[in-house]
Symmetry: C3
Subunit: 328 residues, 3 copies
């Protein structure tokens, strides 16, 4: 028997959302289906459902990110939850002890959910392991490890445009080595049974054994996107440029930047994705970013719905667990 | 036929609120009447109406202003909207491209209204020109150009105390040259048909052709406020003092600071206004600021109601437009 | 006849909550009883009551404190109030005039309650003296003077565990001299008629006439906690260490740090309290902090309920006063 997955309760329902690794195809599809329902909420005159009324969601952002924080805040508010935003300076968390004391205090205030973003891989897991029963943890990005809501919003966007994953060729382009987004996408694509997954990157931006990711490796962009249904561009962290890993933004764009001309080898109806914010002229030019094949802004819209779905599923599981406990 | 006003829909209803120039007398009076209704909300035990429930209002403050941001936040919350506050560092907006990407992302999150404050004249117009259909833009102050909600709260305050604009003499005192507040007041007073409008300022703080503002120009305070019904003092930006435009705060007060004694030439029931925050001892002394003719704090109360009125009108127009579109 | 207590209306109902000095035993017990009711709200699936719906609470934190601010924000939100958070730089308040102008403006925006934290003793009183009728002020800590909601949450925690105050021996350990928490605890324990109150501290951390506090003074920890029912550890402000008042954190712990061994002289069922955040290894070791006698996290939970109770009582008084006025 495998060790129990900390993300799930005894009956396999989602309790925390930390990583896409180890989640079943059924569960991922359940999340995608649930997201479909929440997509409609944003189109209502009153963009609000009472599912999490009277719940308290705390945004614990150890790494600042206005954009991601905003999407979680909006998702929580549209579920009618109360939202606390805590900007926690990295300094105050240098001791694990202090982090745990902070958690214990927020639990004592009856916070129901922590949305955690942290520069260190494994931070959200660590918090989920130590959190009180009844409190859910959502990983909003931890180090190079995982960004599961981004992974799921990307899968949702692909499914809406392309349907069945089994027939699809998906190409992921860019800094695979440092990207938690790529790691989550690759895990989801494996689980959902994507037909063919490719990674396209310079050797310096690939992990030591890239084949272990279950993808075919390419070093040439035109070759890598040939006949692809989906082309996912990763964001290039500009701080990498200062190191030895990359020559320059200009040279990167010459080799791995997406243009209409390079995209020509992909399927005619291929879609182009990017987790945002785009570095225009680095990962792609504006013609592609704003072109007819770009679904980048749809990803943002879908991101709210997927976060609502994941939050609602976790809170729903916790509600059932606490009711069952009350009936014991 | 004049070019269509970007602020209005096809039927002349308010869709954005960017400037008072080009708005009809009827529309300004409609806003004033609507404000009258919202004034009562603040006196209820439950200071809340459900008009914007489930709507998302994003405060985009490129220029910091706790006070103005707070009044818009309160107005939105009392309309039951959800409020996002985004403090956008000036740096991240040095490229127009980046600003547009930020807007596109917020639109994709189904934000319904942007409240924009920006140091550059025309910023709110630029955003309104590029915003998606269905999203309203409210100008909360752009450069030296316009501050239309301040202008309307001032008109509302004048109407409450003095009634018909046609019989009134209104004197505006201070730094006309740099003041977006003065520009909005002058536009509104022209449209509402104020009897006589005067501007009183040192030559260095007047625009090149002051007569084009439709006001009589005075350089002497006592003369300028003689028989006035309304005396509006502008805030003096202290940074002007450092330049060559003004001698010193002390000398400014000697010439243009309002005292009870100087106010004696105005009508006995004249009211004194100021957009706040007051520099006591510079624009006026405390005896006047806190005296029986000061309506400065009423202006603040009226500011919430006028912002509620403008937000409710814009959201109402967008609701009608999207319903009409759905029925097509 | 004593001068009227600014905290109470004519009929002795709570209007402001500034200090525990001068409040009657009946009123303190009323707050404790009311808190009992709010404790249950946090255990409901929907942790919200509509008591303050449509009310506006402004957090005025002149001294930063994420933790305390968060508890007040949560308490207000669970009462369904709208919350404004204003971080007021100490600089902008150097002039009393400016502070009053800020207050007048917030009152004009129809704020119903100010929650004030300030480094200067008496700041909340000053604000309550100058605030408009109908607005309540809650002291969230002023200088070395008072922290009444902390005092009451401590009393609530003691009553829940130990019942009748008359039979109890309560020991307060640490920096009595600088502690507004200790001052509030001592006032409450006197009023509630605690059997015996002791203070345990080095001479440098005691006020000039410690006996005036109505407590027995000890300089030895083991002796001081002998047969105690309740041991309250105060937080040591680390900045004191830099001065001449304390030798070092290590030496302080050697003399006044609580360990299981030193706690052995207290009653077997003694409880250990701390206002948080704990400096582990300074005021106490982790074995005590996380041990079976520690009720430190319960204090945090009780803190939300006590703040809800105090806010609800003050808003209730103001509602009654404004209704009575309306009927005049």
């Amino acid at each position: 028997m495998p060790p129990p997955n900390i993300q799930l309760d005894d009956q396999g329902h989602l309790k925390h959302f930390l990583t896409l690794e180890g989640l079943s195809r059924e569960l991922l599809i359940k999340i995608l289906d649930k997201t479909e329902g929440f997509l409609g909420v944003a189109r209502q005159a009153v963009k609000k459902v009472p599912l999490c009324r009277g719940k308290t969601v705390a945004n614990l952002f150890f790494e600042t990110s206005t954009r991601t924080r905003t999407t979680f805040e909006l998702a929580a508010k549209r579920l009618s939850a109360d939202v606390l935003t805590l900007n926690i300076a990295a300094s105050s968390t240098s001791k694990g002890e202090t982090l745990l004391d902070t958690l214990r205090n927020l639990e004592a205030m009856h916070v129901d959910m922590f949305v955690v973003r942290h520069a260190e891989s494994g931070a959200a897991h660590f918090i989920a392991q130590h959190v009180a029963p009844g409190v859910s943890v959502i990983n909003a990005g931890d180090g190079r490890h995982s960004h599961p809501t981004q992974g799921m919003l990307d899968m949702f966007t692909i499914r809406r445009h392309k349907g069945d994953f089994g027939r699809l060729t998906v190409a992921i382009v860019g800094d695979i080595l440092h990207s938690r987004v790529a790691r989550s996408q690759l895990a989801a694509l494996r689980t959902l049974g994507a037909g063919e997954v490719r990674i396209i990157a310079p050797r310096t931006l690939l992990p030591a054994e890239p084949e272990s990711l279950g993808a075919r490796v390419y070093h040439d962009l035109r070759e890598g996107v040939r006949d692809a249904d989906v082309v996912i561009m990763l964001r290039l962290q500009r701080e990498r440029m200062r190191g030895a890993m990359l020559p320059s933004e200009h040279e990167y764009f010459q080799l791995f930047g997406l243009t209409e001309e390079r995209l020509a080898t992909a399927k005619p109806d291929a879609i182009v994705m990017h987790p945002g914010p785009i570095n225009r002229g680095v990962e792609m030019d504006s013609q592609v970013a704003d072109g007819p094949r770009s679904v980048i802004l749809e990803q943002v819209s879908n991101g709210i719905a997927v976060r609502m779905a994941v939050m609602a599923l976790c809170i729903g599981t916790q509600n059932r667990l606490s009711q069952a406990k009350a009936h014991d």
